[in-house]
Symmetry: D2
Subunit: 338 residues, 4 copies
């Protein structure tokens, strides 16, 4: 960590500040004297140094991290890829393309089973579906809740597909005990109380990037889960909020190779939420595979125009079948197994 | 609500769609036929119409709301200002300037009591202080938690100032029973489960705008609380995330007059978090008063350079005294009572 | 165009406004009366209707376009792809992948000729290089200017590669007479005086998207050039400005399929400027091909660490050779000719 | 300037790099060796060091400026406020509130003279009006051009108000010889060729912040003009592009005190373009005065609903009279002369 001091900093202040840093954080402090300002360099493990604390000092002009503030999620300390493996054998991050598909909301047993069978036939290895739904309006459909979870399990029994579904509240963790992959939605990416609790369980967590979260913040939220002892985190790029209004969000495709470089965790892409437009799902899925994503999560509904949420971005089973084929074909061109 | 249909929509599809809208939402549907497209107009209460559902229809090109999607927070249906009044008499939204001040984090009894007495002497009518702290890093100080709440109450006992503090988890609501104003932080603005529960209690809620939330989304989150029966919501503009890096966030000063026009709820401004820089607090506080804010929430720490969080944006008690004086002086120029 | 009127609009105001619209724009006006507001629909060619003028009317609540405001760039009126063909035979937009490569700045005859020969050997069909350079600082290297243009022509003579270079000023158009493709940089995308003049010449224009321009604004700038009579416009996505700081800009990969759908013009991608980081060029180039781009423009420098500008994002000739191979290989998986 | 080197950097590379920096930029280089990386500190005038060049080096991990990259616009080197004074005596930056008002576009002699007389009566000291208009659409009204300039001079003759109007093209500089203050619009803030030419003339330049320009970029564009010898630059905050759609742009009110701190140049605010909504002009003007702006530029039209451009954000003369009164009243509360 590099700390630039203000020009008016006195020798005494410098001494006192250096000593306090050494004691508080167990780091060595080197000083370098320029014509206009003095610069301190901290040597040791600075990931625990609170950058807010440093920049609050009267004598500090600015601070710059050299080390990343995340450790467990950091590829530097874990060079090998993390492969998330389910008890039932499915893997994410092993070089294959993990394909998760299903409706935004679970609506009925018939619906979820029909979609599950159809996406399985098209090659999806995971079934996604929302039981608890975060909706901007209190007057919009909020999901079938506990009943939705039961229907997902029913669909799993019929198809063998493990299920991925979103949690919105700490007190629901028990309810999710039999879920295969627990999703944390974009709006809860910095619900730190939820992240801490999910760090205490032994189950894969699919962590979606927040609407205006930086790549580093996403990794810090993964760090929250991992700091609790749960290493099975799957990162998900799902579009960020920008000024462009044609799409619901802007897919930050660069985040895929960057996350793969900075971290050892698997990275998947959600082209449905990134765009909000069903005809964009195919080209964005292609781009995600090309950029190195470990998987995709795609909304599929048997009848999008009657979907109780997010129908505009859902594919029909027929459309999904064609997109899935293209995903696996293109995956081969990138040396991805199937 | 105006719905533009795709050019290829047939007469039969139009009929079927219109009928389904009438049944589902109890609205009347008028059609207007253009050269290139047909447009439907929905008459009635369209705040419950799910815009996602509409835009998912195969035959729909685009949708435009004419009515706002929020009702209880909407000034159209409640022309008079809401005045939030505490049992102890303090008011927010009555034309006075509500001044909330205190440290980012409660750190000790001595600290919080000292700051409380000092900000009271400077004219603040409310004491703010964080007991549970949302921090980007799991390794940063997370607050004194329950003990912090006790210390806040101690400071209230000594000064008579009602306390404002942040909740981060549904299961803590009981713990917060004796808090005067419960704050929902920016990162939890769309933690809908928390909002719903706060709608069931009878206590003022200070709702901060999310880092990348629109004005409409902030009002929809207020609507979540109000839909549950709790009308005492105080809106707080605290800066939004933009590309500009000089400040931590960009204070959206326009949000103040816009929120006051669209809603009857009181609106306060947090210049400390908006800028992240202590010397900007005064000019931004001045701008907030000038733009019509009902109050301010400002970070004050007895020793910012030793603060355990957010010191860089905290004022000393002496600085706050001078800023408070200017706030009330300028308030008078705007006809604000004190 | 759909115009929502304010509730208080009187019958007389409505009549007067309708008549003025009919006269001014030669459109038909239909009115539809709701419970809370009246809505007007304009029938005819509304691309010339000034949306600012409409929304300025006292009685207007809001306006919504149904038709796009661009015509010549609009695929609706020109369903077939535009193929830009140079007199020397190279084509952009014909299904092949157009590969443009070269240094950010032309620095010397030896440098540009060496890079030109090398990128040609790797399969590039166009040579890019900056003679006039837009730099944020007046103290930074501003390019070799006219001399740079001569060196580019020298490199063209040696290699046969047509040259692409940026214009910054109307009065330079004559200087650029012998340039094959004239580039308009992101900072000049809304330099309308320059666009108008480029509309009067008969030469392909590579138009880069502005740092904070919407997709529609990019198409409107293309429309400026086309309205003057020059149909040979190549659109270029090069990243937009967002809050994310890891990359210089955020590549908006969705813009590629969207521009291809809305317009008949060819679309290329600049992964070098989008990311500002050389190791990201390959994955972003892959994503661009996968998303359907008609070509790529990539920075290559014989010695990036001695480049006078933008070295951090430049590839070495060896790196480019490897990236080019991957581009053409992957292109085949997408049925692209070479 | 602080340069962090990559861990794998060898001693020889370090030596070679240090020597080249010393020779090229005439700076001293100090090295500091950490456990994970080596850091270099550059001593001397680093404002001319090309940060792109540095970060392109193979051995460089990252770079951080300690000094600002602008010199002539920097308050550090010119502690006193610059006061722009017109030959006719009007001043900007002397503690008074400079009030510029007039229509978006000059439309006729009657219109501009009527508005000029009216805004003068309300206390404006400058007349603004567009003769050359940058419009997103080539089909929208582009201004009366040279004729518009003549009409502005006519209005100046009648009222004595100096005129402020926008230039869009280098070749028009002669046409603008008799204009009092030349405006550079947001879309041309980085039209560096135009800035360079304006640096060669002796006339105040009103420089508007670009739609997505940082505060530092605005100051660098001022530096372009000042580097040419023209010190009379007036900075203008006019809103930046964000994801919020309620307003046309988001007024970055923090930019006012920041620009005043970083630079000695006067700073004015344009509440009309920042919001795009006439009823927001008053509260935003109040906020601008409260935040320390040296002046305001406000759109006024005798008949906004018939304005040929930007009517939605224009005030009527009556509305402006009331806003101007409030501006001067509030100015007094802030110790501003009139």
């Amino acid at each position: 960590m590099i700390i630039v001091l203000k020009p008016q900093c006195t020798q005494d202040q410098l001494q006192e500040f250096s000593s306090s840093l050494q004691q508080q954080y167990n780091v060595k402090v080197n000083a370098w004297f320029g014509t206009q300002s003095t610069v301190l360099g901290l040597i040791g493990d600075t990931s625990v140094v609170d950058i807010d604390y440093i920049s609050a000092q009267d004598i500090v002009e600015s601070v710059k991290r050299v080390q990343e503030p995340y450790k467990k999620a950091n590829r530097k300390f874990h060079p090998d890829n993390t492969v998330v493996t389910l008890p039932t054998g499915q893997k994410i991050g092993d070089g294959s393309i993990a394909l998760m598909a299903g409706p935004c909301s679970v609506e009925s047993e018939a619906q979820i089973c029909k979609v599950a069978e159809s996406v399985k036939a098209s090659g999806a290895q995971f079934l996604r579906g929302g039981a608890f739904k975060p909706r901007t309006s209190p007057y919009a459909f909020q999901g079938l809740k506990a009943e939705g979870l039961e229907l997902l399990k029913e669909a799993r029994k019929k198809t063998g597909l493990p299920i991925v579904t979103e949690i919105m509240r700490v007190s629901h963790i028990e309810l999710f005990e039999d879920v295969d992959i627990i999703q944390v939605g974009a709006r809860n990416m910095q619900n730190f109380e939820l992240l801490k609790e999910l760090g205490r369980i032994n189950k894969p967590i699919l962590l979606k990037r927040g609407l205006s979260s930086t790549i580093e913040e996403l990794l810090m939220s993964a760090e929250y889960i991992m700091a609790g002892g749960n290493d099975q985190v799957i990162l998900c790029e799902r579009g960020i909020r920008t000024y462009e209004t044609y799409t619901r969000n802007t897919l930050d495709i660069s985040a895929v190779p960057i996350l793969k470089k900075l971290s050892h965790l698997p990275v998947i892409v959600d082209p449905s939420h990134a765009s909000g437009i069903s005809w964009l799902v195919e080209p964005l899925a292609m781009a995600a595979v090309a950029a190195g994503a470990d998987g995709l999560i795609i909304e599929v509904h048997n009848d999008p125009s009657r979907a109780l949420s997010d129908g505009a971005q859902s594919l029909t089973p027929q459309q999904f079948d064609s997109v899935a084929k293209r995903i696996f074909e293109v995956g081969e061109a990138f040396g991805r197994t199937h």
